[in-house]
Amino acid sequence: MREVAIIGVGMTKWGELWEKSLRDIYVETALLALEDAGIDKVDSMYVGSMSSGLFVGQEHIASLLADYLGQANIPSSRIESACASGGLALRLGYLEVASGVSDVVLVGGIEKMTDVSGHEATYALGTAADQEYEGYHGMTFPGLYALIARAHMEKYGTTREQLAMVAVKNHHNGSKNPLAQFPFQITVDSVLNSVMVADPLRILDCSPITDGAAAVVLYPAEMVKKKDKPMVKITGSGHATDTIALSSRKDITWLEAVYKAAKQAYKEANKGPKDIDIIEVHDCFTIAEICVLEALGIVEKGKGGDAVEEGMTSLKGKIPVNASGGLKAKGHPVGATGVAQVVEIVKQLQGNAGERQVKKARVGLAQNMGGSGGSSVVHIFERE
């Protein structure tokens, strides 16, 4: 398998984009990535999207978007793994270039979530859970993470304040990201006083409903001509699944899919948790960031809350997590998230992250996750 580089990235401002349709958002973003890469024709495309069907009534978007992007007749695939759709699209695009099947692969992610009501969006997100044995009983996506949060708090003593600190940190970072949906700071108090969604999680523990897209262009590293920016390569890729029903898990507080995907990525990259300089994790809810830190091996089981409280994962900390603002401040257009994480890591490794630049970042990791941990994709990136 040959090495794969990321030669272009694209992302536009995320938020409630009333004027723009799913097609508009995707094409605008993908064109930016192509421009950044200096490419105008791609060999194949992978698009991550959790549920264009439920949100805008449109399936078959891989073909639709290839057409609207002006890439007639290319092989194009829509990848779905709930909220890990984007990360999984990246993995499949990576494998297609690495295997030699294609040279130029465009990987994008898109979700247009605001054309339906809040209840419909809640329902659509809830389809990541087991419909007959979780959804049937009135469970929601925040509800699943609330179950995990309570169990984690009971087992390890993680506190309500530590959960709030995750949101505060991510908003602090997000306030430095011009493309973020919520580029402003918040306080622990504002989190603790925000309206309850599913006890103990409040609205400020939860990532928002967002419209947005992100895109990257993959290319064989050996074919990259000298450029003005340092080359960033994908050096590790891992993918694992788990039961989607929380009640079928052996340990509700442990994300086995993240652990296994990370293990695979670490092995391929010949790296360990200690070698990572910067991480983008899937903070769909504050508790998720804490559990992911543990499953990635960044901290011991149960110590995720302490790590956030001690500042280990802040922008100036030992290992900055979610310098982009994370899902919480940047937004969470479901299918796009996994790809946006990659956009951030590439910008950081190339010294292009503006006010939120983490100095001397050489090795980055992006972790994307579906549902309550039913799937996870982990990638490791290195700057030459």
Binding site: T122, E132, Y136, H137, G138, T140, L147, A198, L201
Partner: protein
């Protein structure tokens, strides 16, 4: 949300807690499986779940999906039944303040939701503190 045939198909599980158990490694599956997720063998025997257990985690849903708008807020949790199987369901007939990890509950047959004013009535199991 469900449809008449999807609802009807799960009746043995929703009404009677019918599960199955791997003859080889004794793992219990609910709903029943064709292949054991632990040892991959395909020899499973029909059993019924225990009807009592203890709460291992819970939450109170305050922002519900459309079907449950009239019910919110309501408590949902995961209960470890006395046969070791974890089951998710609503916890009813108690004050939210009295909910705690570890309290014992038993299963009761209740209405879960209805498909609006004219759709089918969907029944199943809920947990009631003992």
């Amino acid at each position: 949300m469900t449809t008449p045939s999807r609802y009807w198909r799960e009746i043995p599980q929703r009404y009677r807690l019918e599960a199955n158990k791997c003859k080889n490694c004794k793992t219990i599956f609910f709903p029943p499986r064709l292949v054991c997720a632990e040892c991959k063998k395909r020899d499973l025997v029909a059993i019924k779940l225990a009807e009592q257990g203890e709460i291992i985690t819970y939450t109170i849903i305050r922002v519900p999906p459309r079907q449950f708008v009239d019910q919110a807020p309501y408590a949902v949790g995961i209960v470890k039944l006395d046969d070791g199987v974890n089951l998710m369901g609503q916890i009813v007939d108690c004050e939210f303040e009295d909910l705690k990890i570890g309290i014992r509950v038993k299963i009761e047959f209740r209405k879960i939701f209805d498909e609006g004013e004219s759709g089918i009535l969907c029944y199943g199991y809920k947990f009631v503190p003992e």
